[in-house]
Subunit: 297 residues, 2 copies
Amino acid sequence: MNLREFQAEWMPRFDAYLYSELRAAVPEQENLHKAMAYSLMGGGKRIRPLLVLATLALAGREISDGFAAAAALEYIHTYSLIHDDLPAMDDDDYRRGRLTSHKVFGESTAILAGDALLTAAFEILAETPTLSADKKIRLIALLAKAAGPDGMIAGQMDDVEGEEKRLTIEELKQVHDKKTGALIRFSVTAGCLIAEADGSFAREMEQFSRHLGLAYQIHNDLKDVVLDEAQTGKTTHHDADLNKNTYPSLLGVAGAIQELNTVIGQAEGCLERLAARIDDAENKIDVFREILDYVRI
Amino acid sequence: MNLREFQAEWMPRFDAYLYSELRAAVPEQENLHKAMAYSLMGGGKRIRPLLVLATLALAGREISDGFAAAAALEYIHTYSLIHDDLPAMDDDDYRRGRLTSHKVFGESTAILAGDALLTAAFEILAETPTLSADKKIRLIALLAKAAGPDGMIAGQMDDVEGEEKRLTIEELKQVHDKKTGALIRFSVTAGCLIAEADGSFAREMEQFSRHLGLAYQIHNDLKDVVLDEAQTGKTTHHDADLNKNTYPSLLGVAGAIQELNTVIGQAEGCLERLAARIDDAENKIDVFREILDYVRI
């Protein structure tokens, strides 16, 4: 099964689940619901949910068992974008080709919609009937750690503070390992945990997700320099304007492209080792190979 | 045991727990840790944790079993104050007699510190070794519901929207039932759940917490009108400036005081019924009687 087929089969069902959970979480406050739905259903690529579900498929388990964890992840990813775009943070007017939340709903609603998505993420995981209490607790602890003040939020703080100084490439990697890497790693860790995958499978998948997370960030930085607004759907050249630390600003465009290709090669290595180990892995692993296409330049 | 004795015995231990959990949650990002600690250890009255712990005492259970739930509650209460004070929200410069988070650390750090406290609250509950997985899951589901888009955040949105229109007293009660009531109710519900209290005890305590939550809000509104800044430690006459819906603005000062006394009387009724039912309740229930003193004018 290739990525397109996997998406065609699973993403409409996942989106329906995501939206029904949102309706259940916000039964009364219509404007809050609207603001949450605007960002949540606003055309994201759903990379993180895809990783959860594809990991379950690769491990040979029931794919819909991953819906709650995938939804919680997407809620948290979405809240982080809403808060990141705020005037006090990155001050972005556009995201995915549409106005950002605070431009449409105002700043106070955008702050509350982000807070609400973050809170509801844990409610979804705690209330899903498809997982045992023990699995739910482990997932909640891991998700809170990945998204919290020793994970994503630490990376965001490092990023804010880094604006004022020049980072080394190692420091930049550390920032992104937390800022974007932690949630991407959680995607496959959650899939492995739900599937009760064995240790060597889980370790190889975790390595893959590390490389993918890094590639994702280098690609993102390069996109801002190489592509124009029509292609990225958001205001570009923005990070460079702020003298931000990015892979192209530290390594040059050619150096960043080379680094990206190296990291993608390492991720492919993980997939080859997995393919050699798992019976009938070949067509299930194609989904992951094609996910890597998202981060190629 | 009176309130002062109960506090003297338990609150220093609880504060030490709260701070050690914070250190564990933020091992590396010093400025994030500082901002979180500034608000978390900034002299709040700890009413919600006190309610959790006193409920366990009244139910005759191990009081420290309530630490994780009480800490999670205080983290969430604290994040809600940080975000509420932001320029885009209530735009307050002072809270508890000290500068608000965004005045000290800047807006972006205040937003992130709030997000971090909210996220870490769920990590604390998920990782505490003192509760079973089943209890933890029920607590997390209840806390997310109380703090989320059908609880506290719905109330905050209603409040933001209500600024533009005149509410009836019933509508105002609905707003506050979610905005401040939900977390206060969770305090006693969590205590009852951890203590495995019987249904009639839990129902009476839940009624008590409803009355307390309402009294708390009426008292808060009155304080802004009746007391001056030196006594409240924050910028007062603020809500009235914004033409906000408050109990005094809808009922007049005398009417609001009368309503407050009625509600306190109902809360006292709950405590008397509990005292009559529980052996040796008399001195344990004094703690709750004295908590009501906080909301008397």
